[in-house]
C-alpha cells in the first residue's frame, strides 16, 4: 500500500510541479487589503429583558430570572440600539515560477477575538477586539492541474464553490452581519450559512475548469485551526484536537464558540460546479457533500461509546443571472445539527432550503433572501453511560414526547446598498430569524413556556473594502 501511495504521489507530484511550458517568472508581490465596516443596529430580540443581575464576577452565569419593575416602573433590559465596528487586514502574497506555477499565501487578520466579554481575572482577560487570525493558507496553482490550498480556509462545500446562496445585497441579508447585534440567548442566530461549516485547518484541491465544470475536495483531521495541538498534556481531553475519545464528548456536537472545541473528526468535502451561459443567462449549479466522523464519549472507567452520527450532508444549489437580476436556491439534507455539528445517534437529520434574489442597477443593488430548516432541537437522548444492552450509552429522555425535538429555524432578510465609490458601500438591511420548537421553553427565565424566539435586526451603515 505504502509503495503504491509513494509511487502515485510521485507521479502526481511530477505532473503537478513540472509543466513544460516556459512562462515569465514573476517575483512575489505582497499586497495589503481588507475591509472596515461600521453599522448602527436596532435589535428586537425575545428574552432580552430577562436580565436578572449576574452576581458572578466572570459574567458567565446564565440568565437567572426576570426582575419585576422597580417602584418607578423601570424594567432592567438590554438596549435595542448599538453601534458595531469590525475590520480585517488581509496580506496577499503572489508569485509565479518560471515553469508557470503561481503560488502565494493569504493571511487574514481579524479583530474580533472574543464574542462576549468574559473576565477571567482583573487585568488578565482578553480584549473583545484583540487581533486574531480569520483564515490563513498557502496555495500553489497550475493552469493544467488546478490549485492546492493548505491551511485554515473554508472548504469547497463550506463557502468556496456554493451556488444559489444569493447574499450580494445589504450586508448579506439573513446570512449577513446581523449576528453582531444578536445575543446567543436561545441560539437565535443564523448558524447554518455555508461558511459556518468552519475554516478549520485543511488541505484543499481545486480543479481547473473544463467544459464549464470544476470540482474541489478537501480533508481536515479535526475541527481545530492554528498552530498547536491544543493538548496541554497527553490526557485524552476535549481540548486536544487529536483525541479520538474524551469524557464529555457527547456535549460537543455543537462546537463551543471561540476555541473551536468540537467532536468533529476526519472531515472531508467534495463539490462539483458547472458555470456557463444559455441565451445570455448566466448559470451556476453546484452539488456537494460533507462528511465527518466524531470523537467517542469516554467514560471514567475507560469504556468508549459511539454516541454520534457521522456528519453526512448533501447539498445542491443553482443560480441564474441576467439583466442585473440574480435568483438562486439551495437545498441541504443530511445528518447535522443546527451548528453544522454531529447529531447524537437517533436524532433526526436536517433539511434546509434557501432562496434569494437580487437586482443590480448601476450603483444600486437590492435583494432579499429566505431560509427555512428543520433540525433536531433539544436532543431526544442523553448520555447515561454504556451498558451491555446499550453500547452507545444514550437513553431516551424521560420528558421526550412524540413529535418533540423538532426545531424549525426560519428567517429572511431584505436590504440594499449604494456603491459610493469602488469598494465603498452604504447599506441598509432588515432581517428576522426565528427559532421554534414545540414544547421546549427557549426562554426559561420568563414565566410560562416560550417555544419561539425571534430576533429582528435593522442595520444601516457603511462598509469599505480595500
Amino acid at each position: 500500500m505504502r509503495k503504491i501511495l509513494l509511487g502515485t504521489t510521485a507521479v502526481v507530484g511530477a505532473a503537478l510541479l513540472a509543466p513544460a511550458v516556459a512562462v515569465a517568472q514573476e517575483a512575489p508581490t505582497v499586497r495589503i487589503g481588507g475591509f472596515f465596516r461600521a453599522y448602527y443596529g436596532n435589535t428586537q430580540q425575545t428574552g432580552r429583558n430577562s436580565t436578572g443581575p449576574s452576581t458572578l464576577p466572570t459574567g458567565t452565569g446564565g440568565a437567572t430570572g426576570n426582575l419585576p419593575a422597580d417602584s418607578t416602573g423601570n424594567i432592567a433590559r438590554l438596549s435595542k440600539n448599538d453601534f458595531s465596528t469590525d475590520a480585517e487586514v488581509h496580506v496577499f502574497v503572489n508569485g509565479k515560477t518560471a515553469n508557470g506555477l503561481s503560488y502565494g499565501a493569504v493571511v487574514e487578520i481579524a479583530f474580533n477575538q472574543q464574542e462576549g466579554r468574559n473576565i477571567v481575572q482583573q487585568r488578565a482577560s482578553t480584549g473583545k477586539s484583540t487581533a486574531s487570525i480569520d483564515e490563513y493558507y498557502a496555495f500553489i496553482a497550475s493552469p493544467t492541474f488546478g490549485q492546492i490550498r493548505f491551511g485554515d480556509e473554508d472548504g469547497p462545500v463550506g463557502g468556496l464553490m456554493n451556488s444559489g446562496v444569493v447574499t450580494n445585497f445589504g450586508s448579506g441579508g439573513v446570512y449577513g452581519d446581523r449576528e453582531s447585534f444578536v445575543s446567543r440567548q436561545a441560539n437565535d442566530r443564523t448558524t447554518t450559512a455555508p461558511g459556518a461549516l468552519g475554516d478549520n485547518t485543511k488541505i484543499i484541491y481545486l480543479s481547473p475548469q473544463f467544459f464549464g465544470f470544476d470540482f474541489g475536495a478537501s480533508f481536515a483531521f479535526n475541527y481545530n485551526e492554528g498552530e498547536d495541538t491544543g493538548c496541554s498534556t497527553n490526557q485524552s481531553s476535549g481540548f486536544c484536537d487529536s483525541s479520538y475519545a474524551f469524557t464529555g464528548a457527547s456535549g460537543f456536537g455543537v462546537a463551543a464558540a471561540g476555541p473551536n472545541f468540537s467532536a468533529r473528526r476526519n472531515e472531508y468535502q467534495a463539490a462539483v460546479r458547472w458555470r456557463g451561459s444559455l441565451a445570455g443567462v448566466g448559470l451556476a449549479v453546484t452539488g456537494g457533500y460533507v462528511g465527518a466522523g466524531a470523537a467517542r464519549e469516554l467514560t471514567l472507567n475507560g469504556t468508549q461509546a459511539r454516541v454520534f452520527n457521522n456528519l453526512n450532508v448533501f447539498q445542491v444549489g443553482a443560480q441564474a443571472s441576467a439583466y442585473g437580476f440574480t435568483v438562486g436556491a439551495q437545498y441541504e439534507h443530511g445528518d447535522s445539527n443546527f451548528f453544522w455539528g454531529n447529531t447524537l445517534r437517533g436524532d433526526r437529520p436536517m433539511d434546509q432550503f434557501f432562496a434569494g434574489a437580487s437586482y443590480t442597477m448601476g450603483p444600486f443593488t437590492v435583494g432579499g433572501n429566505y431560509v427555512i430548516g428543520t433540525f433536531e432541537g433539544n436532543s431526544r437522548s442523553a448520555f447515561t453511560g454504556p451498558t451491555a444492552g446499550n453500547p452507545s450509552g444514550l437513553t431516551r429522555r424521560a420528558d421526550f414526547a412524540n413529535g418533540a425535538g423538532m426545531m424549525r429555524r426560519l428567517g429572511y432578510g431584505i436590504g440594499g446598498n449604494y456603491r459610493l465609490a469602488p469598494g465603498l458601500d452604504l447599506l441598509a438591511e432588515y432581517s428576522s430569524y426565528t427559532v421554534a420548537e414545540r414544547g421546549r421553553d427557549l426562554d426559561p427565565s420568563n414565566p410560562g413556556v416560550q417555544d419561539r424566539a425571534t430576533a429582528k435586526v435593522f442595520i444601516v451603515g457603511t462598509r469599505l473594502a480595500f
Partner: protein, 178 residues
C-alpha cells in the same frame, strides 16, 4: 472505501489535465469568501490592495496603457535606441517602435563588393533583459552576376545582439548617472 477514495484523489487531478482546449485555471476571486459577505465587493478581486513589496505588474500595465496612447514606445526604450544605433551603419527600410521591429535595406560593405547583408531586429518587450532583443542577419553573395543566398556564421547574430545589449547598457548607465 478508503483505497477507492485514495485512487479517486489521485486520478481526478490527472483526469482534469486532459481537457486541454476547453480548460482554464479558475482564478482565486471565483471562489466564495464566506465571512458573511463582509470582505466581498473588493475592487478588482484578488488584485486589490496596496502593494507593499515587489513590482505591481497591474499598475505597470495600467501606466503603460495610459502612456502608450500613440506617443510612447511599447518596447523597452534602451533596447530600441541601442538597436537603432547598432544597425545605423546600414540604411533602414522600416522601423516600427510599436511592434519592436527594425528591418534594414541590403548593404554592401566597401571592403567586399561581392557580398551584401540585410538585418532584421526584434525588440521583444518592455523589460531591459538580456533576452529582450533578437537579431537575424541575411547574407547574399554575387555569383556570376546573380545574388544568391548564402550562410551567415552562427556567431554573427549573437555578436550583433551582444553589441546591442552593450550599447543599451551604456545608454542605461548614462541616463542613470544624470
Amino acid at each position: 472505501m478508503k483505497p477507492a477514495l485514495l485512487a479517486l484523489g489521485v486520478l481526478l487531478p490527472l483526469l482534469s489535465a486532459c481537457g486541454a482546449a476547453n480548460q482554464r485555471l479558475v482564478q482565486n476571486d471565483e471562489y466564495g469568501d464566506w465571512r458573511n459577505g463582509r470582505a466581498r465587493n473588493r475592487p478588482l478581486g484578488s488584485n486589490a490592495g496596496l502593494v507593499v513589496f515587489g513590482v505591481d505588474k497591474d499598475r505597470e500595465a495600467r501606466e503603460a496603457a495610459a502612456n502608450g496612447g500613440g506617443s510612447g514606445l511599447s518596447v523597452n526604450a534602451y533596447l530600441w535606441r541601442a538597436t537603432l544605433d547598432t544597425l545605423s551603419f546600414m540604411p533602414l527600410a522600416s522601423a516600427d517602435p510599436f511592434g519592436g521591429t527594425i528591418i534594414t535595406e541590403w548593404y554592401t560593405p566597401a571592403s567586399a563588393n561581392n557580398e551584401r547583408f540585410r538585418a532584421q531586429a526584434y525588440v521583444l518587450g518592455r523589460q531591459l533583459r538580456s533576452d529582450g532583443v533578437r537579431v537575424q542577419v541575411f547574407r547574399q553573395t554575387l555569383d556570376r552576376g546573380q545574388w544568391v543566398d548564402s550562410t551567415v556564421s552562427a556567431a554573427t547574430n549573437s555578436d550583433l545582439e551582444d553589441k546591442v545589449l552593450a550599447r543599451a547598457r551604456e545608454l542605461r548607465s548614462q541616463s542613470a548617472s544624470r
